[in-house]
Amino acid sequence: MNDIESRIIELVAKSKNLPPSEIHLDTTFDELQIDSLDKINLSFAVEEMFSIEIPDDNLNSLKTVGDVVRGVETLLAAAQPKAATS
């Protein structure tokens, strides 16, 4: 498990008052009974933790914990300065 995965799992676990061991990448928001308010709150915490901004459009497509991890990885990669090409 990489650092992003473990930090997100810890956030989700804390928000639902569950032990992190019960949260996996394929755990769905439905299983965790994460509603729209939980989702907005979780997104806020993720944005604060990784200094990123999750676009509104992307919020609705998040269905699993793994979706959040992949989304964060994508946003962090996009934020990396591009290597010089010449």
């Binding site: 639902k16 008052n17 308010l37 939980d38 709150n41 604060e48």
Partner: protein, 426 residues
């Protein structure tokens, strides 16, 4: 008009987080007022020369993510601040205790609460971070800040969908809430009601703001004492279950007391200087309202005044409040005023603003139920200028022929609310 009785009780207070613990502390005169630790209050300087007083009355041993009897789901924790959480747990106790939901239609039951300050913790945290470092505001700040957050969460927890609202009239909120719920049940607008108040205002900004008012005791709240020097801030919640007497009797419910009257008034005078005439008017109206409740042949409010055996005073412990409240009692009761036992629960619980009236209504109900009047703590010598029979030293029996009690709340801004309770005789 229906007669209305109290059939369930719940509380989270600085002197006990169950009704049993509250009752025990109430009669032992065990105060919840204690020195507070600024170092654990978010954002506070410690020490802080801007806060000259040293004590508050805090709820202890409240852990809604750990204690089984206080457990709240992550949804409640996310959407509520401490005061609302006190309210949810107090309501849970009262509902379970009364069996309310097994006997009344949740679609019609009313919920009326008093909370004046709202979730100040969330508000202050968000604003501090915003102003200091232009931080973003958490998405839950709005819902945690709402004064009605506890009210909504009580409805969500119980599934009750009847008329549900919160009242914010500063220090009288809890009393106004119980009074309005009483009127609704009496009029048949609701078959039963969850009524009370909750508040947890002991945030850094609030402590500083009260210091500026120069009404907080540098020592401890000692209502009606000759050497009283101010109020002590507190927090907590209390909830009563109200239902018609006939419904309570039909289902064999335990009846703690009857609510027989409710009076309200405004001083229309000054926001911080209370006026005895305003408080007296609310007390008179509560007594006159007994006739509305009980009808003929109970037509004489003076007769009711002669039967008042206990006044649970607003009794904040400030020079002004206690003097004005004493003057109001003399205006209403005349020659007998000096012989009516008067007590002040705030000597034990501090002043919890929107919850205060509800906590004091709980104390009044317990006093009538036990026919024993709790004493006021911390009074070294009763202020002789007040000419009141202040309960001190130890509890005193309620006189058999004086089975009425008033519970006064006299708010900043001159908004007054008084409940009249009667000992229930089987």
């Amino acid at each position: 008009m229906k007669r209305v009785v109290v059939t369930g009780l719940g509380c989270v207070t600085p002197i006990g987080n169950t009704v049993e613990a509250f009752r025990e502390s109430l009669y032992a005169g065990r105060t919840g007022i204690a020195p507070f630790d600024l170092s654990v209050i978010p954002g506070a300087l410690s020490p802080d020369p801007g806060i000259r007083y040293k004590t508050t009355a805090k709820v202890r041993d409240f852990h809604p993510t750990k204690n089984p009897e206080q457990l709240l789901s992550s949804g409640f924790i996310l959407t509520s601040e401490l005061g609302a959480q006190f309210g949810i747990i107090a309501a849970r106790q009262a509902v379970a205790h009364s069996g309310l939901l097994q006997h009344h239609d949740p679609a019609a039951i009313a919920i009326v609460t008093g909370c004046s300050c709202g979730g100040r913790g969330a508000d202050e945290d968000a604003n501090r971070n915003l102003y200091l470092r232009n931080a973003r505001i958490p998405p839950t700040a709005i819902i945690r800040t709402m004064a009605s957050s506890g009210t909504s969460n009580i409805a969500i927890e119980t599934g009750i969908t009847g008329p549900t609202l919160n009242i914010a009239t500063a220090c009288a909120s809890g009393t106004h809430a119980i009074g309005l719920a009483f009127q609704m049940v009496r009029a048949g607008m609701a078959p039963a009601a969850i009524a009370g108040g909750y508040e947890a205002p002991l945030t850094y900004g609030f402590l500083r703001a009260w210091d500026s008012m120069r009404v907080v005791s540098p020592t401890s709240c000692r209502p009606f004492s000759a050497d009283r020097d101010g109020m002590t801030l507190g927090e907590g919640a209390a909830i009563l279950i109200l239902e018609p007497l006939d419904a309570a009797l039909a289902r064999g419910a335990r009846i703690y007391a009857e609510i027989v009257g409710f009076g309200m008034s405004a001083d229309a005078h000054h926001v911080t200087q209370p006026r005895a005439e305003g408080a007296a008017l609310a007390m008179r109206r509560a007594l006159e309202d007994i006739t509305t409740t009980l009808g003929a042949p109970y037509l004489d409010s003076e007769m009711w005044a002669s039967r008042v055996g206990y006044i649970n005073a607003h009794g904040t412990g400030t020079q002004t409040n206690d003097a004005v409240e004493a003057a109001a009692i003399h205006q209403v009761f005349g020659e007998v005023a000096a012989h009516i036992p008067v007590g002040a629960t705030k000597s034990l619980t501090g002043h919890s603003i929107g919850a205060a009236g509800a906590i004091e209504a709980l104390a009044t109900v317990l006093a009538l139920d036990a026919a024993s009047l709790p004493h006021t703590a911390g009074v070294s010598q009763i202020d002789p200028r007040l000419d009141l029979d202040v309960l001190i030293g130890e509890p005193r029996p309620l006189a058999r022929e004086k089975d009425l009690a008033l519970s006064n709340s006299l708010a900043f801004g001159g908004l007054n609310a008084v409940l009249a309770f009667r000992r229930y005789h089987t």
